[in-house]
């Protein structure tokens, strides 16, 4: 990477992007108030909300027009994911969209792709390559009947009659243990280098979209903290006028502002120059995990004792910061992948 090359640094959204963002912000604000999030606990799935999202076309929009999609870009998807994260929407949008895109890239039968795109079945992906018969935790596998996995050198779609057994977890998400030997139907989607590449790209996409959701989550947590700090008073002044409160809130804002841009940039590169900056989605994910972890915790702290109670909305955010960012494995592993890429040792 030539650090002095002349590139445009245009972080602005065009009219279409602004419209996509506004539409989904509107949808989520209306359809997913905190009661919806609470109502979907502990499994973290609201079938109604999911159904309404599907009617908006989220399952197909990012597929090529040749596959019945609208050619929406990864930039569009991260804008939607940020709005999803802002309200903590209990829907498996990210996994389902990423896995559906895998089917399309792997050249799965058109009927299968369009069924997934319509949401006839729910599909997710196993993040770790499968070795032997070891089980792994798969995000959204407690609602999905289909899992895309890398089995040795093959990309395989495995399906079962029903989803996996839900494993209760901190973030109230549809997490489940999963192993490929449990009498699944198998469809080999791709083999060899192509299989590995599709899987690697999909994991990066999942992290990128999750990063966007974490940005939305952190931003919403920041807003809750700011509102509280404006109104709560101590010693005759609003607590938000004290630097001991305002500076930590500012630091969340700094994290959110930068991470959002980094997510956008990573989405742009993945869309328009795939392969040229493979570290960017991983960096976005690392930054977003830390921004959300720190931001939700600091905002909860600003709320004082209230921020530690389950009745405060900020609690929903605090529990999902780690609850979402650790779904795909450890953040340490992600970090060392970044190190490998930038050291050219990948």
């Amino acid at each position: 990477m030539d650090r002095f090359e002349l590139r445009s640094q245009d972080f602005s959204l065009d009219e279409d992007q602004l419209a996509v963002r506004a539409a989904f912000a509107d949808f989520f604000a209306k359809e997913c108030p905190p009661e919806t999030v609470r109502g979907a606990e502990p499994r973290g799935f609201d079938a109604d909300l999911w159904g309404r999202l599907l009617t908006l076309g989220v399952g197909s929009m990012s597929l090529p027009t040749t596959a019945g999609g609208d050619d929406a870009t990864l930039v569009d998807l991260v804008l939607i994911a940020e709005e999803l994260g802002r309200v903590l929407a209990p829907v498996p949008l990210i996994s389902h969209v990423v896995a559906t895109r895998m089917l399309e890239r792997a050249g799965a039968p058109a009927s299968l792709i369009s069924a997934a795109a319509r949401g006839d079945f729910l599909v997710t992906l196993a993040h770790a390559p499968v070795t032997g018969g070891a089980r792994q935790l798969v995000p959204d596998a407690a609602v999905a009947t289909h899992v895309v996995a890398l089995l040795d050198d093959k990309l395989v779609l495995l399906s079962a009659d029903g989803p996996g057994a839900h494993v209760s977890n901190q973030g109230c998400t549809p997490l489940a243990w999963w192993r490929p030997t449990d009498g699944h139907d198998r469809t080999v989607l791709a083999a060899g280098a192509k299989a590995g590449a599709i899987h690697t790209d999909a994991v990066a996409e999942w992290r990128l979209l999750t990063a966007a959701a974490l940005v939305g989550m952190a931003d919403a947590a920041l807003r809750l903290g700011v509102e509280f700090a404006k109104t709560r008073r101590t010693l005759g002044v609003p607590i938000g006028s004290l630097q001991g409160i305002s500076f930590p809130l500012v630091d969340i804002a700094v994290g959110v502002g930068g991470t959002r841009h980094l997510v956008w940039k990573a989405a742009w590169y993945a869309q328009h120059e795939p392969g040229s900056r493979p570290e960017l989605p991983l960096m976005a994910f690392d930054a977003a995990s830390r921004t959300a972890t720190h931001g939700t915790s600091a905002s909860a702290h600003v709320h004082g004792g209230l921020g530690f109670s389950v009745e405060a909305d900020i609690s929903l955010y605090f529990l999902r910061a780690k609850g979402w960012s650790l779904l795909g494995g450890s953040t340490s592993a992600n970090l060392r992948e970044i190190g490998s890429v930038i050291a050219g040792a990948a």
Partner: protein, 398 residues
């Protein structure tokens, strides 16, 4: 300087065995399950059992219901209660409030309540904070108005942990709104079974239950008053001063910080992370312990815990809260998805999803007994002698 193992006398060894025998018996799985389910912070059966041995007020003479324990035995008791993970928030608040009753309560009150405190049947909780009050306790607005030899109390208190298991609450009230903030306050020990008292649970995601307590025209006898009318701030400061002190004459058997016990879950979480690193296998067949990054993160967590244990007084309160939040998050990051699994679910780490629990629990440790910001202000003024900011509503808190 001395960190050596305390050599126990024969009697002290016997005492230690007695304590362990009792705890083996009374601290059953049901006790822990009850605590996990309710977050009460107190186990009434265990508390009563302690009372039967005089161990609620262990330094009291036996004739007053105590056990006349020497400092070493008191410390033995404390460490064993910690080892057996006895829920003991109620023990702490009862002792704290008693210190004020002893100093400021009438003789009648002391004699009436003392035996029950000792045998465990009388338990106290703290009514300091109020909705909208934050850490500024002196801004209390719960109103007490004199009515003959009674007071009519109205208002609400927040974060009165343990109220559902206690007979009385320490309640700081506003008795003269016209006096300066710290002057018009009066302290009462309000019986929680009086008409007009309503206890409403507040659940935390740290697994603990706390409460809001509402007072609606509650008639409190003047006998229950502690200290003089409008001198409640003095009564309140008494136990707090004790709580925050770190002067010479410190009991060298005690921990450096009263928050040290809050580090225990993190120590457990670290042990669980070490076990995970030792026992689990990565896809390539190697274990996490072969990985320098894992060693560094475990080393950092262990160092931060040791450092927090060694950080004295108010400094320790700040450090312990920060370490809890930071290192519990780091252990989550290190272990990954499995760390998220809830206690009881398939694959939960440790005995009860200890890393998950610690990460949730940690968030409370920067708030209990005053936020870390309050303590940072105290350190800035008292230790560093930095100039105090002047606020419209000042006089400092606590």
């Amino acid at each position: 300087m001395d960190f050596s193992l305390v050599e126990l006398t024969r009697d002290q060894q016997i005492f230690q065995r007695t304590v362990r025998a009792l705890l083996d018996e009374v601290v059953t799985d049901e006790v822990h399950e009850h605590e996990r389910a309710t977050g009460d912070g107190i186990s009434v059966p265990v508390h009563l059992a302690l009372g039967r041995h005089g161990w609620v007020m262990p330094e009291w003479p036996v004739e007053d219901g105590g056990a006349g324990l020497d400092p070493v035995c008191r410390r033995i008791l404390e460490l064993e209660l910690a080892r057996y993970q006895v829920p003991r928030i109620g023990l702490g608040t009862t002792r704290l409030v008693w210190a004020a009753v002893e100093r400021f309560g009438s003789r009648e009150l002391r004699e009436r309540l003392g035996p029950g405190v000792a045998d465990g049947s009388v338990r106290f909780c703290l009514g300091y904070s109020e909705p909208d009050g934050g850490s500024d306790i002196a801004a209390a607005r719960v109103r007490a108005v004199r009515d003959g030899d009674h007071w009519i109390v109205n208002g609400s208190k927040l974060w009165t942990t343990g109220a559902q298991c206690c007979q009385y609450s320490f309640v700081i009230t506003r008795t003269d709104p016209d006096l300066p903030k710290h002057k018009g306050l009066t302290m009462f020990l309000v019986p929680l079974d009086l008409p007009g008292v309503e206890i409403q649970p507040i659940m935390t995601y740290g697994g603990e239950r706390t409460n809001a307590v509402f007072f609606g025209d509650v008639r409190v006898s003047d006998d229950q008053r502690l200290g003089e009318v409008n001198d409640g701030w003095t009564v309140l400061r008494g136990p707090l001063d004790k709580e925050h002190s770190l002067g010479p004459g410190r009991d060298v058997l005690e921990d450096l910080s009263s928050l040290r016990q809050y580090l225990r879950p993190l120590e457990t979480a670290l042990d669980v992370a070490v076990a995970w690193a030792r026992d689990s296998t990565k896809p390539d067949g190697s274990g996490p312990l072969a990985d320098a990054a894992v060693l560094e993160r475990l080393g950092r967590a262990a160092t931060e815990i040791e450092l927090a244990v060694c950080t004295p007084g108010p400094l320790g309160r700040v450090k312990i809260g920060d370490v809890m939040i930071e290192q519990s998050a780091q252990l989550m990051d290190l272990v990954g998805t499995e760390a998220l699994i809830s206690a009881g679910a398939d694959g939960a780490l440790g005995h009860e999803g200890d890393i998950d629990f610690t990460h949730r629990f940690a968030q409370g440790t920067t708030i209990y007994g005053g936020t870390v910001e309050v303590f940072r202000n105290i350190i800035a003024q008292h230790d560093l002698h930095l100039p105090r900011a002047s606020f419209p509503g000042a006089k400092v808190v606590i």
